[in-house]
């Protein structure tokens, strides 16, 4: 539910309740006022009739309402003394309406030349159901009117007022830390929006800054490590070419192995951060089928030795525009992953379709965690020689060019890239 609709809904509910209470009070106050006024009228009539009776005693014989609005009946004096003015609602048959209609009735008594009479004066009354009906109808009209004006106001005014907010939301939704577009604050007259805009702008700038610093840091760190790594490796190489006994050589070999692992790791990190920092600019039209064939040739010795069968299925062509080095890196890392995490006698099948590359491999008989498989340093088991960065590099390249990469397990591990 949108903010505007949400506030409007609550507003309407509240308004409905307020109007209901107001209508109730209004009805009773109104009714009270009407009764008051009718009763005043009846009292006035009473006085007029009593005055008239004094001049024209014939009316004292009017024992029926008939065409008039009063009736007079003689009553004993003892009874008359107990009379007070009584106003009451009653029903009376009305010729006009052909129905019993509510009337206001004043019952009183008066004396005339020693005799006592009971006087009943009526006046036609407001029809309460009609009044309620009218009132409800008016209320409904008012309510609908308010809803209509609210919708129009929402549409025109509120939407206009909240526009900077929705603009901000839209820009936030499209914002990507790894591809930040300049984030301009909107120029709103409303202080809160301006504040929100400025705060978000500052927050994003800070985040982009941190993100870039971190990216740059990894690259710089990997970079700075290259020279000391090179010096150490070369010094060790010079050392093992000196006369050494077996024990010393074995120790040196172990140091060298670990140093080389460090060098590989560092190279992969550098590559990964360079991909993320978009430093592979030059794009060319790449025939990926050719890249796949070359890669499979390069790996054929290794696969043969491990007794892994490499199969190429060309059912289509993949042609895409990308950096040639990254194209090789993508295929190499996929194929290498498939060979390394395999077992003797297993197979690697590379399946090429139009704009899709799938690499199947035998290996572990259970699925890998597909949510983590492309993470950096996610290792399947404790394979010491693996850097744990191969698939992260594949993913980074795929992300860079907007290729879709998925992992699936169905007896074999399956990595599919759609270009």
């Amino acid at each position: 539910m949108k903010l505007l609709h949400y506030t409007s809904l609550w507003f309407l509910v509240a308004l409905f309740l307020i109007l209901l209470v107001w209508a109730g009070s209004f009805y009773f106050i109104m009714l009270d006022e009407i009764y008051d006024s009718m009763d005043d009228g009846l009292e006035n009539q009473k006085e007029l009739i009593i005055q008239k009776a004094a001049q024209d005693p014939s009316i004292l014989k009017r024992s029926d309402f008939d065409e008039g609005n009063y009736q007079i009946r003689k009553i004993p004096a003892s009874l008359a003394l107990t009379y007070r003015d009584i106003y009451a609602d009653t029903l009376m048959y009305m010729q006009v309406e052909q129905d019993f209609e509510p009337v206001r009735l004043l019952t009183t008594a008066f004396g005339h030349q020693g005799e006592y009479y009971e006087l009943r004066v009526i006046t036609s009354m407001v029809e309460e159901d009609d009044l309620i009906e009218d009132l409800l109808f008016s209320l409904l009209v008012l309510f609908l009117g308010i809803i209509a004006s609210m919708v129009i106001l929402n549409d025109l005014l509120l939407k206009k007022i909240w526009q900077p907010f929705y603009l901000l939301l839209e820009r936030l939704r499209n914002f990507r830390l790894d591809d930040p577009q300049p984030f301009y604050a909107t120029d709103s007259k409303i202080e809160e929006f301006r504040l929100l805009d400025n705060s978000i702008q500052k927050l994003l700038e800070k985040n982009v800054q941190i993100f870039n610093d971190q990216k740059q840091f990894i690259e710089n760190a990997a970079h700075e490590l290259q020279t000391p790594l090179a010096i150490s490796l070369n010094k060790l190489e010079l050392m093992v070419n000196q006369p050494m006994d077996e024990e010393q050589l074995t120790l040196a070999a172990s140091v060298m192995d670990n140093l080389e692992r460090l060098i590989r790791l560092n190279k992969s990190l550098l590559l990964l951060s360079r991909i993320n920092n978009q430093q592979y600019a030059g794009e060319e039209e790449i025939d990926l089928n050719a890249v796949v064939k070359k890669t499979l040739r390069d790996f054929s010795d290794q696969a043969d030795y491990k007794n892994i069968h490499l199969i190429l299925d060309e059912n289509g062509n993949v042609k895409t525009k990308m950096n040639p080095d990254l194209a090789h890196m993508l295929v190499i890392n996929l194929v290498k992953n498939a060979i390394v995490h395999n077992h003797p006698g297993g197979e690697v099948q590379v399946f090429l379709e139009d704009q899709a590359l799938t690499v199947f491999n035998t290996g572990k008989t259970e699925a890998l965690d597909e949510t983590r498989i492309f993470e950096r340093f996610y290792k399947q088991g404790s394979d010491g020689s693996s850097t744990g960065l191969g698939l992260a590099i594949v993913k980074a390249i795929a992300d860079l060019y907007g290729f879709n990469i998925t992992y699936h397990f169905d007896e074999r591990h399956e990595f599919r890239v759609i270009f």
Partner: protein, 225 residues
């Protein structure tokens, strides 16, 4: 052969100088742009190892100067930046080769020798050791005049080991040189061993004098006993 090493890291410079001196090359060093510029102006070098990032200037600028002096031939760029840009620029400016740090010494020796061969400074285009001759243009190997048939990988291994004769060549270095940078998993070294075994058998069968020695899990050394 005269080699100039332009490198600002003292340790790196010493490493390179020490390793290359073992090959009886004449080594001169420069630790900064100005010294290097001065030296290349005065002397001629058969090969220049050029570090791109120098404290007082860019190695690529030095390369431009060399090109002006018509001395850019034989330059091997050595860089810790390993940037594609630098590589392309360097090669465009006439450098012979590009070697990203860190590298194995055996690889450096192979590149230096390749430069000499390309510049035809070695005289003939073959490598000879004992009764074995390896002809580079035709990729023919003969032992005592009889042809020894090797597959492509065996030939590459033999050439690399010959280039680095009497030097311990690490298996990683060998694997990267012959199979490319990406073949770096531990189990691949077992398979190098099997390739070496085949090569040894072929050499023994052909009665070659040379011997490929295995050195305690580090690598191999080719020598003439």
């Amino acid at each position: 052969m005269k080699i100039l090493i332009v490198e600002d890291e003292p340790d790196m410079r010493r490493n390179l100088a020490q390793s290359l001196e073992e090959e009886k090359y004449v080594i001169e060093t420069a630790s900064d742009y100005d010294t290097a510029l001065e030296k290349v102006g005065v002397y001629d070098y058969d090969c220049i190892l050029l570090d791109i990032s120098l404290p007082d200037g860019n190695g690529l600028d030095l390369l431009r100067e060399l090109k002006k002096l018509n001395k850019a031939e034989g330059v091997i760029i050595v860089s810790a930046k390993d940037s594609l840009d630098d590589k392309i620029k360097g090669l465009d400016l006439g450098a012979d080769d590009y070697l990203p740090k860190p590298f194995h010494m055996a690889e450096l020796h192979a590149r230096v020798k390749a430069v000499f061969r390309r510049r035809k400074l070695d005289g003939n285009q073959s490598v000879q050791l004992g009764n074995l001759t390896l002809d580079l243009p035709s990729r023919n190997v003969t032992v005592g005049g009889t042809e020894l048939v090797l597959n492509r990988k065996e030939y590459d291994i033999l050439l690399y080991l010959l280039t680095n004769k009497d030097r311990l060549v690490q298996k990683t270095s060998l694997a990267e040189h012959v199979w490319g940078d990406y073949i770096d998993e531990a189990d691949s070294f077992e398979f190098i061993y099997s390739q070496i075994k085949n090569l040894r058998r072929k050499l023994r069968d052909a009665q070659a004098d040379i011997e490929i020695q295995s050195i305690y899990g580090i690598g191999y050394k080719l020598h003439l006993p």
